[in-house]
């Protein structure tokens, strides 16, 4: 529908609602910055100082970053075979896609609740193990890093499947055929053709998953409890329990800069990995 016709003022009003929504977003980001950097009417780094001075807060950042890297890598490892399966399953793809999409779109809070029912001290796994007589005391499966990592990985796998599957579907069938005709084994074809060409999807997944994980609130809060805090759970507490908006804003800006730096690093790794393609 590209025609680029003559522009009139009344027609450009069609763009106005979108511009208002985008402006709202950018104003909200601006408000975030102004509440973090301003104290009693003047520029101040007080709220950042409050975060930097606390060694226990540093642990929160380390935990968030390390867990998120683990989650992103685990989720990609789990989702790759699923994406391959969906890619191969021509006839059944739509049905299998629903099996991926439903867990993706069902509310985060419901999926996390599922893990509480599974992992909790009175949960399914503990009840099952107790019934088998393997354990006398409930095993601690949540309210620790393990619980957060299990929950976040599960929550994020569906997106990774979709991202990798999109890459796989854009591979031309001829390439694979050519490789097989020239005598490559199934594994060699995978190693030399399929895997490299699916890397863009893998990197998109890594990036989005990492971002979603560092910015998560609900899953870390419910599966990590109050002792094993994520940056997200800390932010939630500052807003909802201590009503300290400025400090929450300072936390958010730390998180934002952290994710920006991480994105640049992931992009650099991607560029190295994709060197030679195209």
């Amino acid at each position: 529908m590209n025609s680029g016709e003559r522009l009139t003022f009344s027609k450009s009003l069609m763009l106005l609602p979108m511009l208002i929504i985008l402006a709202m977003f950018f104003i909200s980001v601006f408000t975030l910055f102004s509440s973090a950097f301003v104290d009693r009417g003047g520029f101040s780094l007080k709220y950042f100082q409050q975060i930097i001075d606390r060694p226990d807060y540093h642990i929160v950042f380390y935990r968030t970053v390390l867990s998120s890297i683990t989650v992103a890598i685990l989720a990609v490892l789990f989702s790759y075979p699923i994406a391959l399966l969906l890619w191969r399953a021509n006839k059944w793809r739509n049905l299998l896609l629903i099996v991926v999409l439903v867990p993706w779109l069902v509310s985060l809070v419901v999926r996390t609740y599922g893990w509480i029912v599974l992992l909790g001290p009175k949960g399914f796994i503990n009840a099952f193990l107790g019934w088998l007589g393997v354990i006398d005391e409930p095993v601690k499966l949540m309210f620790n890093d393990t619980g957060i990592i299990i929950g976040l990985t599960h929550v994020l796998v569906p997106f990774a499947v979709i991202s990798i599957l999109s890459s796989l579907l854009s591979i031309e069938e001829n390439l694979e055929e050519a490789s097989r005709v020239l005598g490559a084994s199934g594994f060699q074809t995978f190693r030399n053709i399929v895997l490299p060409l699916s890397l863009p999807g893998v990197f998109t997944a890594l990036m989005v998953l990492y971002l979603a994980s560092v910015g998560a609130i609900v899953t870390p809060l419910l599966l990590g409890g109050i002792t094993e805090k994520f940056v997200g759970s800390q932010i939630y507490q500052e807003v909802m329990a201590t009503y300290n908006m400025s400090k929450a804003a300072a936390w958010s800006i730390c998180l934002l800069s952290l994710s920006f730096v991480s994105l640049v690093i992931i992009k650099m790794i991607e560029r190295r990995a994709l060197r030679g393609q195209e």
Binding site: F25, L108, S170
Partner: protein, 265 residues
Amino acid sequence: MRTMSPLSRTLGIVFLLALPLPIFIVFGASFNGSAYIQFPPESYSLRWYIEAFTDPRWARAVGTSLWIAAVTSVVVTTISFMAAYFTLRYAPRINTMLELAIFSPLFFPHACMGVAAVALMAKLGIVGTPGAIILAHVIVTVPFSYRPVHVALRSVDPDLIRAAEVMGASELRALKDIILPICRSGILTSLLFTGIISFDEVTVTMFLIGPEITTLPVQIFTFIQDDASPVLAAISTISVIITFLAIVLLERVAGLTFFVQRSGS
């Protein structure tokens, strides 16, 4: 030609089946007769469903989430359609800039979105109102609405519109009789997809609720923190069924190919 080694096929099937597992566990737990999860269950009953349906707080939360999702999806799809139509037809040059702005919220961690939203809504003085929740949902869902609508509009053959105009159709007539029918599946994808996201959104919404209003996912979240009564399993099952029906509807009316398309192509 399209073969797969038995090992990777098995892994794929096992991992795929593990995805809905927690949802099935919740489903099973909702029919549990006792006050906490037991294995093996001692009794089965529908008492949690009865409690879910008789407690007015749950009915209200479901209602609120449904109407907010409906309003959000219609508003955001209309905004996206107008913007995409205008850009493609009258100002193709600004498209790159516009898309950059529209997709930038995607690179924002959700926790930051939540704080930014509550900071803005507090300035506007609307925290705890439906307006704040809808505005936040529209901001969050715009990228997911713009893409399917823009892809659909781009696929409309400009000659068709020109033909309609040569035959004397007004711009509005061409829009109604030619463009909208061709874009039907893109528009439906946008409506249902953004509706589902809004219905299930929790991370940003939980900062914006108030004593007067809360949504279903946020109320589930609040209840999990207070006490994890199995009534939550029944409520969660109801929420899963609503989302599931919306996805099946989406598959029927528009197909699911949108989800596995590369954005560039």
